[in-house]
Amino acid sequence: MSGVYIGMPAFPQNAAKAVQNSQLRFNLRKATHTIRGRRAAVVGELADWAELRQAGKTIKDHTLRHLDRYLIELEEKVTAAGGVVHWARDAAEANRIVARLVKDTGETEVVKVKSMATMEIGLNEALAEEGIEAFETDLAELIVQLGDDFPSHILVPAIHRNRAEIRELFLKKMAGAPKDLTDEPRALAEAARLYLRKRFLEAKVAISGANFMIAETGTLVVLESEGNGRMCLTLPKTLISVVGIEKLLPAWQDLEVFLQLLPRSSTGERMNPYTSMWTGATEGQEFHLVLLDNGRTSVLADKVGRQALRCIRCSACLNVCPVYERAGGHSYGSVYPGPIGAILTPQLRGMDTELDRSLPYASSLCGACYEVCPVAIDIPSVLVDLRAKARHPRTEKAGMAAAGWVFSRSKRLAKAQRFGGRMRRLVPKRLPGPLSGWTDTRDMPEIPAESFRDWWVREGNR
């Protein structure tokens, strides 16, 4: 994955700052609870949701098991329909391919449809280094780009910004923004629309991702809400799509399942406003598909972790996560925040940095994410599995070994309890070291003079 976040502190430190930002807390609470409610309502409408979810999981698992075969089939179909397929092992290779393709057209500007894959590889930054300017055309993504900012949510990347901030940003950074711009949502959207319209009409090259790729027909599918995607996918002469290899579906008919699962889980709509599908290149136009691995095949090799590749980037897990709601997306230091980010980022990027090692611990394991996931990714289980693979702090290791030693014999536990009972008056109100994390905001419980087991024996039960 891209190095844009390298050097960021670990999750707990990032989150400690975020929880103190009252505006952020208010924005996140309002937005996540609104989408959460909408999702629950439209999911509740479908009597067969559990079956759909099971079907989604099964189709994805089947595809992943036979990924090699379906990818070759896709390549054949796209090529036959006039498209050109490129294979990218990692972010650097994908960026090189895209930059070269743009340069070949002689253009220095491109328009973009919101795409997680191109964010993941840091494409915009890589293109900028080659003298190519990329314009994000999704409203929220545009806000993030103008603010030289990072996205903080998969679906609503500018969730951390309020409209007063957006107005200021537009006035400062968006060419042609009206001087009398207000912070009314309608006025802000209109200003962005006028700015973007010019880009759409002038652009010769567009870059997109895709929600799904159909192996059987070589068709790519993009779901969106604003119509900017449709503009980018149809108007420019050259279209370059960068898509993760796990976005594949075997057959056209599989869309029946996913076109129900995705909008309901994502925006809480029965149907998204725009669904664009294209197969290869239209006459007079060029189409390039860059298939991106960037760590995905190594995730596929992991028996427990591979289920993360089922993800369809709906962000339902973010909207129900109590940790995400308080810590915000930036704390995760990745384009993939929230519960899915906590299992995807450490697998794609590895756990070499303190930040990436802290991500599997950024969860209370409450299970709300698993419950709403439309492809039934057991996020808590993957988190626990990643925790077992992470390097642990030395003091913690010693503490856990000691606890394991005490618990391995019931007589040792009884002795430790009696010792604690005798010392109970001496326990300080504030604990030292890492344990101060407990007593900073909570009182210690009173330690009883006698444990349950000692009571049981004393009462003559045994």
């Binding site: 209370s364 698993y370 900073d440 909570r442 009883p448 444990s451």
Partner: protein, 234 residues
């Protein structure tokens, strides 16, 4: 039916009152309960903190200790969920049949009225592992509704995590405290005197914060309310 009590290490060490209440309640309902003294911990803390090997050892130990019992009752939804939901992933053989207290009462004993008396205003936090792990549903609510004198008030945002999460509470202290602040805000909205739950580890966290804030709300395990009678409340 041979019934064993799995007290859990947290209850054994810090909340013996919950264990005594569970034993008292079960005896009152005519269940003779055994307490295998060899028991220690189910291994959840080790597993969830990333110490799988230690967890597997403790899980194996648990399965041996409780072998031969028809039912194991645990006054902790979280520890019961560890055995039922996680042990299969740890390749543990002959996993004992473990029930959370409300499941044992409602599903095994087929009782929803345990003859308890508790004349107080109570709100109930369903706790994540009971709710989403064991899926106990409305069992604890039904049991509480049948307690004489008890006024049960709904807790807003009840299904949201309180922020305990085991070592999460220490590793991510700020987020944990922020989650608890919102949970407590909801508890205070109810005007309840008592916050009840079926997991003392969550109550350790919420109760510790309520106490630090001098809120005047006390926390009680479900077993302690169900064990209370007119003759002498716990």
């Amino acid at each position: 039916m041979r019934v064993a009590l799995f007290i859990t290490c947290v209850n054994d060490t810090l909340f013996p009152g919950t264990g005594k209440a569970t034993v008292g309640l079960l005896r009152r309902l005519g269940v003779e309960v055994d307490f295998p003294l060899a028991q220690t911990c189910c291994g959840q803390m080790h597993l969830n903190t990333g110490y799988r090997d230690e967890a597997v050892k403790l899980a194996g130990r648990f399965a041996e200790t409780f072998a031969g019992y028809d039912a194991v009752v645990a006054p902790s939804g979280s520890c019961a969920a560890m055995v039922r939901e996680q042990y299969p992933h740890l390749d543990i053989e002959n996993i004992p049949k473990v029930y959370d207290l409300s499941e044992f009462l409602v599903d095994v004993l087929k009782t929803t009225d345990v003859g308890a008396y508790f004349p107080h205003k109570v709100t109930y936090h369903p706790t994540c592992h009971s709710l989403r792990g064991l899926k106990v549903g409305d069992k604890p609510f039904t049991l509480l509704e049948n307690v004489r004198g008890l006024e049960l008030v709904p807790l807003p945002g009840a299904e949201e995590c309180c922020g305990f999460g085991g070592t999460f509470a220490v590793k991510n202290r700020d987020v944990s405290a922020a989650m608890c602040a919102d949970k407590i805000g909801n508890v205070m909205k109810t005007g309840a005197e008592v916050l009840c739950a079926a997991d003392n580890s969550c109550l350790l966290h919420i109760g510790g914060t309520l106490k630090r804030q001098k809120s005047g709300v006390r926390v009680l395990h479900l077993a302690e309310i169900l064990a209370s009678t007119e003759e002498g409340a716990e």
